[in-house]
């Protein structure tokens, strides 16, 4: 039985780079949940998320000697996982919009329309199982260019710089896309909670 690390600092990068299986197993154990969360939300499909993760980790293991340690292991793996998810998606739907393309939403679309104030409803009333499910569906409605930014920054809690590094976009782009994603989701949740309150 291996000792499983609880933090990224405990991973032995030299052993990892030399292809040591035990060190790699520690990395898989440490990051599987986080990467699964990204893969699931990008793809919207648990089976696809599993396949993405397998493919991403295989690719990470193959390229492990090229891991420079410039970024941390986490952002490196997020990047591989996200790119794997995109490649698989493009194979299935070749006309998918990429993260590099300009954000298609103009500021007019971002103007708030819902002013139902649900912020102070106690969480036990607010967060039914159905509401949590709806939160997941709302993420699937996000434009492709905004989705990974929101997942990595607000759900996974990466820093703005780490998100930029992972997705190869500037920190200014991270901030503006994050803001658009938040406004978009606020609108969806407000619609949902307003409708529920009216029912």
């Amino acid at each position: 039985m291996t000792e499983h690390p609880t933090t990224a600092e405990q991973i032995d990068l030299d052993r990892l780079r030399s292809g040591d299986k035990a060190a790699f197993a520690q990395v898989v154990e440490l990051y599987a949940d986080r990467l699964y969360n990204l893969a699931l939300k990008v793809s919207g499909d648990p089976f696809e998320a599993e396949d993405i993760l397998q493919e991403a980790f295989i690719s990470a293991y193959k390229n492990i000697s090229r891991f420079e340690g410039r970024s941390n292991v986490g952002t490196w793996l997020y990047r591989i996982t996200y790119n794997t998810a995109l490649m698989r998606q493009r194979k299935k739907q070749p006309d998918t919009v990429s993260i590099d393309e300009p954000v298609q939403i103009d500021s007019g679309d971002m103007l708030p329309r819902q002013f139902f104030d649900w912020c102070c409803i106690p969480e036990k009333d607010l967060l039914t199982g159905e509401a949590i499910e709806y939160m997941g569906e709302a993420i699937q409605l996000l434009p492709e260019s905004l989705k990974p930014v929101f997942i990595l920054r607000d759900i996974e809690g990466l820093s703005t710089a780490e998100v930029g590094d992972t997705l190869d976009i500037s920190t200014a782009a991270v901030k503006s896309r994050l803001h658009r994603a938040r406004l978009f989701l606020r609108e969806r949740l407000s619609e949902y909670f307003a409708e529920r309150a009216a029912a």
């Binding site: 035990a22 295989i58 996974e156 803001h179 406004l183």
Partner: protein, 91 residues
């Protein structure tokens, strides 16, 4: 939030402040912007709602937006990666 560029006395419009709201919530806004937003919110119910529900949206996703990988899926992953020997049995 008023779609028409509605200015409150001496203040900024809802539209003008919208862009800076995430910076404000993340504590990344300049002090002058913070003051402007706070001054505006005193008189603008819609912007208060937007700021509060925007903050709550971020909080809900941060606290409840993560999906754990099912244990069986994790086992399949370890086996597919030929790491079956290293699988954690403690969880």
């Amino acid at each position: 939030m008023d779609k028409h560029t509605h200015h409150h006395e001496g203040g900024s419009s809802c539209h003008e402040l919208l862009e800076g709201l995430s910076l404000y919530l993340d504590g990344d806004a300049e002090e002058s912007l913070c003051r402007e937003i706070e001054y505006h919110m005193k008189d603008c119910e819609n912007c208060r709602v937007v700021v509060n529900t925007l903050a709550k949206t971020v909080e809900l996703y941060h606290e409840h937006g993560k999906t754990q990988m099912p244990q069986e899926a994790k086992q399949r992953l370890f086996i597919a990666l030929d790491l079956g020997d290293y699988m954690s049995s403690s969880e």
